[in-house]
């Protein structure tokens, strides 16, 4: 008898406490930028595709859900011909982001990617590519790499001396 009364008393007290239920989906929770949700491919500060199709994300992926094929434009800039993530397999571990040498692949705080059909969870490059640099605004891999691409000749990358004149023997 006493315990019942005590329970009712607690319930009564509880109705004065702060509510913690979130009214999702009307109300969105806050997720930190480094939350590991839907994966995107970002762009260089100058708008070019950031991914250089190095395959490191794919090989780091423990479930093997990233597949891509490298190709090159006529000026030697490498990019993925196709880039596919099978989100029905992805475990959002973030290893791909860790492995990426160009900051191209990033996990975002969006987790609302539920689908009724698994096949709709297959994202191609068109679905992944966003229009900005994401979490790493300043970085441009091509400005650091030594290969020549359209608009950047040998010797023009960061910390590069002008190309050697191989016809001289002068010390």
């Amino acid at each position: 008898m006493l315990s019942i009364l005590r329970t009712i008393w607690y319930v009564f007290l509880h109705s004065f406490q702060k509510r913690i239920t979130v009214q999702y989906p009307e109300q969105k929770p806050y997720l930190a930028p480094r939350y590991r949700g839907r994966i995107i491919l970002s762009r260089d500060p100058d708008g070019g595709e950031r991914c250089v199709a190095c395959n490191l994300c794919a090989v780091a992926c423990p479930v093997g859900c990233i597949a891509l094929q490298a190709t090159e434009d006529k000026n030697g800039r490498r990019y993925p011909e196709f880039f596919r993530i099978n989100f029905s397999r992805c475990i959002f571990c973030g290893y791909c982001e860790e492995a990426c040498p160009t900051y191209a692949i990033q996990l975002t705080p969006d987790f609302e990617i539920g689908e009724f059909h698994r096949k709709n969870l297959v994202y191609e490059k068109e679905d992944l590519l966003i229009n900005g640099p994401g979490k790493h605004p300043g970085y441009n891999f091509w400005q650091i790499a030594g290969v020549k691409i359209g608009g950047k000749d040998k010797g023009e990358a960061a910390h590069e001396a002008a190309p050697v004149d191989v016809h001289t023997l002068l010390p």
């Binding site: 090989v59 990233i66 297959v122 020549k148 050697v164 191989v166």
Partner: protein, 876 residues
Amino acid sequence: MATVYVDNKACEMNPEENLLHGCLSHGFKLPYFCWHPALGSVGACRQCAVKQFKDDKDSQGKIVMSCMTPAAEGTRISIADPEVVAFRAGIIEGLMLNHPHDCPVCDEGGECHLQDMTVMTGHDYRRYEFEKRTFRNQDLGPLVNHEMNRCIQCYRCVRYYRDYAGGRDLNAFASRDQVFFGRSEDGVLENEFSGNLVEICPTGVFTDKTLKHHYARKWDQQFAPSVCVHCALGCNTDAGERYGSLRRIVNRYNHEINGYFLCDRGRFGYEFVNSEARLRQSVLKDRPTSAAAARQYLDQTVANGRVIGIGSPRASLESNFALRTLVGPDHFYSGIADHEAKLVGLMLEILRRGPMRTPTLRDIEESDVVLILGEDLTNVAPRMALSVRQSVRQQPMEAVKKLKVPLWLDHGVRDAMQDARGPLYIATPYRTRLDEVATATFRAAPDDLARFGFAIAHALDSSAPISHETSQDWLMAAAIARALKAAKKPLVISGTSCASEAVIQAAANVAMAANTALSFTAPECNTIGAALMGGNSLSAAFQAVKDGEADTVIILENDLYRRAPQAEVDSMLKAATHVIALDHLPNPTTEKAELLLPAGTFAESDGTFISSEGRVQRFLQVSAPQNEVMASWRWLKPDHWQSLDDVLRAMAKALPELDAACDAAPSSKFRIAGAKIPRSPLRESGRTAALVNINISEPKTPDDPDSALSFSMEGTPDQPPAALIPFFWSPNWNSIQAVNTYQKEVGGPLRGGDAGVRLFEPAPRNGQAYFSAIPRAFSPRQGAWLLVPMYHIFGSDELSLAAPGIRELATKPHVAVNSDEFAEGAEVEVNCAAGTFRLPVMIHREMPVGVAALSVGLSPLVGIQWPTWGKIARAK
């Protein structure tokens, strides 16, 4: 064996070798760059440093380069000593100062010796923040890519290219920390073995340009052991595939054959497999049809018709045998051109009869006197030319040994040798690339080459026949005979390229008289196998159709227009009611076929070839079939043959001489600790994404009923037998240098023995008779030319010509003569039995008068029966 103490552990090492060689052979992780088992030591990179101690009391020690220090008895060294560890880390940091931040976009990434060594030394952070040196790259042609910023100045490339392969157009330029490795100006690398730079260079400076066009990382490629299909030498290769297309060919080490090196035709010719023109579906009466319908039509036609089958020297033993079984041995015709079949038959007779041994390429490399009779090796059997190039070092090497210079000490050996070269004699109708290292050359028409050979044989053994007409070449023949007699390991090389039986017989006489090894070249990857399979001659097949004995012809992987004159093939194909062809690529023969079946190339099928050495070797399918393309033997086989093992068993029973094919590789039942051998590296990526655009449920891994390999990364981690090695990899060694860990001793045979079974072992000497049909001396005819074939490494091989890189480099068809009548480059008309051809003429001053050489195998110069006589006139 010498006992060397490595970090106080006693190790048995070969005292004839250096410490680096010994340490690597024992599996120690000792980093190195400039040393290579085939090139020896120069001590250029300083990466292989170890600490050497005087005796067990010495705790101070001194740092030495392990590659420059002999593995002498009692040597005490340490690899783990902190001082030398720091030294090595310092060296690699130095090498990396100027290294670009390229790994993500570098084709070497994931199989880079520099990456491996950087990780091995623990250099994981760059402290250098100043300017990096840069270089401009060169366009080196369609096969090799150049990215000079990545160079660490180890000098391996020029040492290989110039010293080993005899190239001239690659060199080191500039000075101090700016040394540049390239050509004096942009342009195609001239050497026929330039592709090996890709594997020799420990960094991404030289990479495979054909791979770049459809790049995939090594860890992502699915590999299978293969055998090169572009000539008869049977170099061992590994073929890599990704997403259903073939990506590249890499060398598969075989101590007895190709060692570390392939020729460019073999490395880059693979692209025909990916050709847009490939036949990927059955075609019945010009309409695409299903495999089932095609098979049904085939069965029906075979059941109702009078059928003959024409085999092929570029199809596997299994495919030839399946056709032979389908049509019956009496109705099976060899697909080899008549004139060639005669020559190959003669070669086989000689090899079977003995007593000459047919040498491996390594034997050729170790020969100290070589006579080449009638062969332009670089263009016919390219890899053999590279071996012959090494053979001329054998005699000078003896002198070096006397000076007590260790043979691995490359600069020491070269200094001691200077320009000395051992005896190499080349007798051919026209100049060859190897002339530059020859002691003497002899230019003559095929009949005179044969007479020359007979004269040498007679000089060696007076019971060998000789013609009574005297010759002014007698002195040279006598000199060659003396050299052969004095040799420790003499060798005679000949073959089919002069299209002369007399030349082959003469070579056999010399080999028998001097008791030398005898190597014959052959035109195609399975010419020897097809010849051993037997069958009636090609012209008999034509006759059978013409006479109405047969109304249905099944043609296996063979463009008959390359084997016989056009008119004959035309009339035969017209006379036949049903023409059924199996092939990879469309060609004039397949165009005439009523039913066309898409045949798997070496990458899409399993099979066995027999090389010109007489080595039986297996190649395996690279990826699971994704369309109707399958091995020809699968199209043709009777229902009760389920797998390759069944075909091999049936073949061994029907043709006992070929039962070695069963042992060319372990059977499909072979397992290592119950597991198959994985075709894919452990880290293959994208397994749950590659195909989900087609179907979200990932397919089950396909089975492989035909081999002990699996189509996945699952399987044994252990080293497979040599014939089944899909790729070389071991922990810490991601690059091709991992082959070190597969060998008994670095640079030696693979553990468990090298791949392939030899068919011909020397028969004892038991009074085998000399050949005595000496031809009459060649005399030029008024108004007519003797036409002989001239082969081209890029162009004469049918399949590689469909690879874009090789096609770009292919020689333009031409005729070579020694005549004042024509101007170099002028258009002429060559008129012979096979037709009239309009060609540019090249003046070869060294050629015998009255003889003209025609580019063989290049359209329109196909189907010619060699040798033949023809007229040459200025084109109107």
